[in-house]
Structure formats: structure tokens, C-alpha cells
Amino acid sequence: MRPLVEMKGITKEFTSVVANDGVDFELFSGEVHSLVGENGAGKTTLMRILYGQYEPDEGEILIDGNEVRYNIHGAIKHGIAMVHQNFMQVEELSILENVILANMDTRAGFILRKKAETRVNELLVRFGVNAKPETIVAHLSVGERQWIEIIKAVYVGARILILDEPTAVLTPQETDKLFAIIAELKKDGTSIVFISHKLREVVAISDRVSVMRKGKMTGTFDSGNFTETDIACAMIGKQKVQLIQNNSDFSIGEEAVCEASGLWYFDDEALPVVRDFSFSIHKGEILGIGGVEGNGQSELVDLLFGMKKPSGGSIRFMGTDITDASISECRNAGIGIIPDDRIRVGLSIPSTLDENLICGIEENGKFNHNGLLRLNSIREYANELVDTFDIRGVAEDHQIAGMSGGNLQKIILAREISRGPKLLIAAQPTRGLDIGAINFVREQLLHQKEMGTAILLITADLEELLSLSDRILIMYEGGCTGEVSDVASATEGSLGLLMGGIKISEVGQGA
């Protein structure tokens, strides 16, 4: 059988990074073909090339056996649609307008709205989305917006549908719904490319799996011929590397480091993003906060270090009330943070390593002499941290632009840990890192735990949540759906129900 799509020898280079290096990829009609690999392996780049968003430096694309060159507009004409990881939707516009954007019927340049409205309405009913075509997209939930993306693809009559990490923002139950839809589309003859790094999902729905690593295709497995382990090995490139687990028996202190009670936060629409959330965290304890992203985790972090002021409730830290404290008061009191977005929040990329390390403590006598910066001792301090935290690829002039994600994360770790925090908030601390860097981060966190630091671990990765936490709270729509104190006997399934908003009383502890 001739493949529907053939990509041959695709090479794509960005400024000094080779994202795709001679990659071959085939897609047959009516199959679900998964594309897996670590972050930065080049999956998304390859698919953006297929979608016409990037032009390959080398290589050719054949559709129905004909060599083609096209841009996005052309890709849509060829029946290719892509659901991006962060939605490509215009929030201010209605569902209808978003759906018809890629493909609208016009007469003399005028949009034929009535006809489109009927079809969009049909699709909304078919995919079980409880909304009208006129509804503004900004008012939809994340899950609903995912269905709108798929409706967009179906509306343009896509025969090739690329889904880029579609389950990252879904609960396990919503994921099941997505898989049902995929099965339905497949029955209609649509070919689907499913990008993911969640192996369980991949095994469940794929006809074929292709594995990418460091910009190269390392293997393709046919249905029935693979297990999760096979794929994992191909992804990592060597025989299984074990991720570090929290096996420690270090005693958790009695003394509460931080206590939050009844925290509320209302966003600009006056909707409760954090609702009645309480927790207490003790010396030497890793408290994991799980949940699908966008359920109030990032707002909770902002409340804890003074970036946002709570609308209700109180926070006590080491016995003092810090509910209304400023950011610098919270930071000086001993709260360290590893933010979830290291490029936008965690570092100042245009600045030097030194400048990044001393920000917030520049008035310390070590760096400050009557208002003048002690540039030499700052440089010394930076060099010390580079050695201690094994930060690599530091340029001679200490510019950090161009360093790898793992090393940037090490800079943040070095800065936060060297300040001797009593509470360390780690938000998605290993996101986008390779295995080596993940283990480094985990090691550092566990080391801090041994030293008696309380660690608040916020992560969307269930594996990480289960491997590191001493205790787990799950956030759903800003509230807490349950606490799991017996982490060892908890499963991803039971956590999944909590993540979908089913309360602990209905699930049963550790079921």
C-alpha cells in the first residue's frame, strides 16, 4: 500500500540547533501514528514542517505519491490540520469565527455566515460540547477549547490530523473521551499523528509508533510488536535509566513551616481561581500539589510569595503572618521559588550570570559597598556556584543567552538553594529537561529535604508526583479534591479521578 504522506530526509536547522536531522516519516491512510520522544527531540518541528509552518532546509514531502511544497495555506488545501500544544485560538472571538477562520465560504468576498453556523452547530452537538456557536472562546474551559480545536480540523475536512500533546491539559477521563473521538475519526478514514510523551496513552491508541531522539528517527514499531519499555529505551537511547525516587526515611519535623488556611483568589472576571484552599507543610517534608494545569496552581504559588494578594484567608510562615507581606519580605523571610517558566520568570536571559544570581540580595554586604556593586566579589560568588552546582557552558563573560535548558534550571536551583530557604516552592521543576538534568534536579530537591527544608512540589506529571512526594494534595478548579497521605499505595488511576474533580470521599483513600 502506498503511504498517504512520505517525508524523506527532512533536515531543519535553527540558529545553531539541528531540530531535525535527515528524518524519514510515513503516514498511511486511516492509521493512528504516534510520534514520541523527549522534549526537544524534534517531534513538533517535524510536524510543523508537515503542516507547512516551517520550510525544511533539506528533504522532500510526498503526498499521494506526488512531491509537494506548500505553506500553511497549502497544507490546509491538502487536507492537513494541526492542533497545537498551546491553542491557536483568538480568545476574543466566538466559536463560530474561530472554526471558520481556516476555511470560509464566501460570495464576492462576503462570508456566508448562516450556512457555517448550521454546520458548526452540528459539530458542537456531535462532539458533545455544550456551547452555542456565538459563545466567546475565552469563556470556555480548557477541555472544551480542545474540542473546538478538533472541530476546527474536522470543519476544514482534514484527512490528516496532527495532535500535538493533546492530553497535557486533559484529565484522564477527558482523555478517554478524546480517544473515543480519535477512534471515530479513524473509522471515517482520517489519518492521525499523535504526539505525546505519555507512553501508556501511546500504547493504548496507536497503530504504529515512531520514536525520535535528538532530531533523529530512532525506530518505528508496528502495532502489537512493542511494549512501553521498548519505546522508553528507544526514547532515551540506552538501556533504561532509573529516575531517582524519594525512598528516604528522614523524619518529617513536627513544626509547621508554612500554613495556609482558607485561601481565596478571584481573577479579573471575579471568578474564584483559588477557592478555600488550606494546607500546612512541615520541616523536611515534600508536599506534592497535583492536578491538571490551569486549575489554580500557578495562582496559589503567586499567593504564597506575595506576587498576588489573596482575596480571603491567611498565610503563616515560621509563625508570623505573611498574608499581606511584599515579595521581598517573603523572599527574605526564607521562601525560595523555582518558577514553572524559567525563561520568562525565572531568569533574565539578556543579563549575565552574575546579575541573575544576586537579584534580590544585591544589598547584602558581600555585594554592596555603600551603594556600589562589588563586581569582583560578585564574580567570585558566581564562580563558586558554577562549581558547586556543576553549571556547564558558561561563557567567559558570563552571558547566559544560548545555554541549554538543563543548565539554566541549574542556575535557578543554585540561586534559590544557596540562599538557604526554609520553604522551597518547586513549580514544574523538571519540565522540558533531559533525563540527566531531571535526576540532578530531583537529587537536589531530596538533598534539601534532608537538610530540613520544606518543599512544595507543584507538578502536572503524575509519575513525578508519586515518586517524590511524602504527601499529595490534588487541586481541581482552585479547590482541593483530596489529600493522599499514603503515597506508596496510591495509583495514577485514583489520582486521575481526583484530578477530574471527584472528591476523595467518593474515591476512597489510596484506592
Binding site: 521581598s328 533574565s348 536571559i349 537579584c359 534580590g360 544585591e362 551603594g371 563586581l375 544560548g402
Partner: protein, 350 residues
């Protein structure tokens, strides 16, 4: 590892070449404007010789170049420090007119009762306070409500300009029975060389504060990533407001220097286009102190050269404004980097 070193070298090379960028921009600007002169039947070479003579030909023309450079340099610095922390300060002319009105008021109210040094000091202080407040207003509204500071700045410029027209014509601030709107004369006076020395001092102090001190460090951090600065505990709001205020103070000092040192009274519209020229100087100087020095010098020389051009008849002096516009236009693109990038790309493919 070799790749990394290669990459760093490449970045260095681009940075090095970038420092020559303004020179190329100026050359292209002169070339394009020259073409314009040629097409309209003039002689570009004669025109440029006349400009050069007007700017550097004699002691008095050099003095005049310096005189035009000073306000541009100070305003460029005032603009840059705001721009570094994310506040696009387009309202400098409004700040200058507001402080000009204030010092005129000081002259009217206390001119006869106070000794000259104290009168001058009072002028400086009152002008600085008003200039600072006018600059603070858009910054505050931006931070508090998200009002667009460019719109606010433009509106403030117009409002204050028209207000000064009204006040100069209808109140005691203005000189009665004058043909144009102008104010009464000021008693204090400073000679131009003193102004030059003060301006140089301000530039050196600014450069030192920006590079070597804690407040300068904070300004740079807020500028390079405001979210990170805030996250690290710096008080972004306070820093931006203080910088906006200082920038207004600097604009007002410039205004006072111009009025007291050079014009001796306040003409309606005396600072027309000064704010824009200062922005040009700042932007072609890539907002570094040395770059701004050259930018301001170039524009000052052009302005002073325009006088030379009006004496000779080879081309009309308006060509100078055109050159200024082209310098700004070409100064903002990294000409060299653009070509380097293109070359690199073709090399890789082949």
C-alpha cells in the same frame, strides 16, 4: 564544546560589527539624501561641504554645534533611562514646556525680591518638580490602569503647548505687546561653556550610576526582564516611577539650561521637535552612553550645519531634516547583521 565556543565567537563577531552599525546608517542616510538632492537638480557634494563647514568650519560653528548637541544629549539620556525600564517617554517636550512655564512664573513672582543665585536655585527646583510630575503622570496611569503612555504623552505635549500659548498671550507670564508668544526676560544667566561642563558631568554621573551602582543594577534588571525583577523581590512600580520622575527632572534641567543660558526668555514652541531628535539620538546610539554621545553630536552638527547651508545656495537647508529622518530610519536596522545572516544562510545550504 567546540561548537559552543564557535557559537560564542559568532555572537561576539556580530556584537563587534554591530558597534559600527550607526556609522553605516549615517553613510546610507547621506547617500539617499544626496540622491534626493541630485534628482531635484542640486549638488549633494556642495551641500555636504556647506553642512560640514557650518558644523565644524570655524570656532563659532563648533561652538554652535556643541550648543545644539547639549540638550539633545541630556534628553537622549532622559529618554533612554525610561526606555530601559519599559516606559516609552514621548512626552519630553511637554515636560520641558511645563517647567519653562514654572520658571517663568518664578521669575515674575520673585524676580524683584530675591538675590539672583537664590532666584536661580528656586527656578531649578520648581522647574524640576513640575517636570518630574508631568513625566510621572503617564507612568503612573500606565502602571495603575494600563493607559497607553504614548497616547498620554502625545496628549500632554499638545495640552501643555497650547496652555503655554494661552498663558504667554493672556497673563503676566507673557511679554505684553510682543508679536509672537514669548515670556518676560529672565534675570539669571549662565554662559554656554558652563552649560557644557554641567552637561558632561551629568553624562558621566549617569554612566557611572548605570554601570556600577545598586540603583543602576536595579534599573537594568527591571529593563531586561521586568517579571523576573519583580519575582526576585525588586519593587518594579517604585523603580519605574522614580526613573520616570528623574527623567522629567532631567528634561526640566535641559529646559532651564536652554532658556536661562541661551534664549533668555521662553518662546512659544521653542522646543519644537527637540524630543523627537533626542529620541533619534538615543536610538541610533543603541542607548549606550558613548553611542548617544555620537548620536547627539551628529544631530547637533546637522542642525548647526543647516545654518551654514542656508548661507550657501547649493541646496535648501531643509535637506538636514531629511538626513536626520534617514539616519533614524537606517540606524534602527542592523544593516550588517542582516547581510551577515543572509550570507550565512546561503553558505549553509550550499
Amino acid at each position: 564544546m567546540n561548537q559552543m565556543i564557535e557559537k560564542v565567537r559568532h555572537i561576539r563577531r556580530i556584537q563587534y560589527l554591530n558597534s559600527f552599525n550607526p556609522i553605516f546608517a549615517v553613510l546610507i542616510a547621506f547617500l539617499v539624501s544626496g540622491l534626493m538632492v541630485l534628482l531635484s537638480g542640486g549638488s549633494p557634494i556642495e551641500a555636504y561641504i556647506a553642512i560640514a563647514r557650518g558644523a565644524f568650519g570655524s570656532m563659532s560653528s563648533i561652538m554652535s554645534t556643541i550648543r545644539f548637541t547639549l540638550p539633545l544629549l541630556l534628553l537622549a539620556i532622559a529618554f533612554t533611562m525610561c526606555n530601559k525600564c519599559g516606559y516609552f517617554n514621548i512626552g519630553q517636550e511637554g515636560q520641558m514646556y511645563a517647567s519653562a512655564l514654572t520658571i517663568t512664573w518664578v521669575q515674575i513672582s520673585f524676580g524683584n525680591s530675591l538675590p539672583v543665585p537664590i532666584l536661580f536655585l528656586l527656578m531649578l527646583v520648581c522647574g524640576a518638580v513640575v517636570g518630574g510630575l508631568v513625566s510621572l503622570l503617564p507612568a503612573y496611569l500606565k502602571l495603575k490602569f494600563g493607559v497607553n503612555e504614548i497616547v498620554m504623552g502625545i496628549l500632554l505635549n499638545y495640552t501643555i503647548l497650547r496652555l503655554s500659548d494661552f498663558l504667554l498671550q493672556n497673563t503676566a507670564l507673557g511679554k505684553p505687546h510682543a508679536n509672537t508668544s514669548m515670556s518676560v526676560f529672565y534675570i539669571p544667566s549662565i554662559p554656554t561653556p558652563v552649560l557644557a561642563v554641567i552637561a558632561c558631568l551629568i553624562v558621566i554621573v549617569y554612566a557611572f550610576i548605570e554601570k556600577k551602582t545598586i540603583p543602576g543594577y536595579r534599573l537594568r534588571m527591571v529593563g531586561s526582564n521586568p517579571i523576573f525583577a519583580q519575582f526576585s523581590g525588586l519593587n518594579k512600580t517604585k523603580i519605574v516611577l522614580v526613573v520616570a520622575m528623574l527623567s522629567g527632572v532631567l528634561a526640566s534641567l535641559t529646559s532651564t539650561g536652554e532658556l536661562v543660558g541661551i534664549y533668555k526668555c521662553f518662546y512659544y514652541n521653542y522646543a519644537d521637535g527637540l524630543g523627537f531628535s533626542a529620541m533619534t539620538a538615543a536610538l541610533i546610539g543603541k542607548q549606550s552612553v558613548v553611542g548617544m554621545l555620537f548620536g547627539a553630536l551628529l544631530l547637533g552638527a546637522l542642525q548647526s550645519g543647516a545654518i551654514g547651508l542656508s548661507v550657501s545656495a547649493s541646496a535648501s537647508p531643509e535637506i538636514v531634516i531629511l538626513v536626520r529622518g534617514f539616519v533614524m530610519l537606517f540606524g534602527t536596522i542592523s544593516v550588517l547583521q542582516y547581510f551577515m545572516h543572509e550570507r550565512r544562510k546561503t553558505k549553509e545550504i550550499s
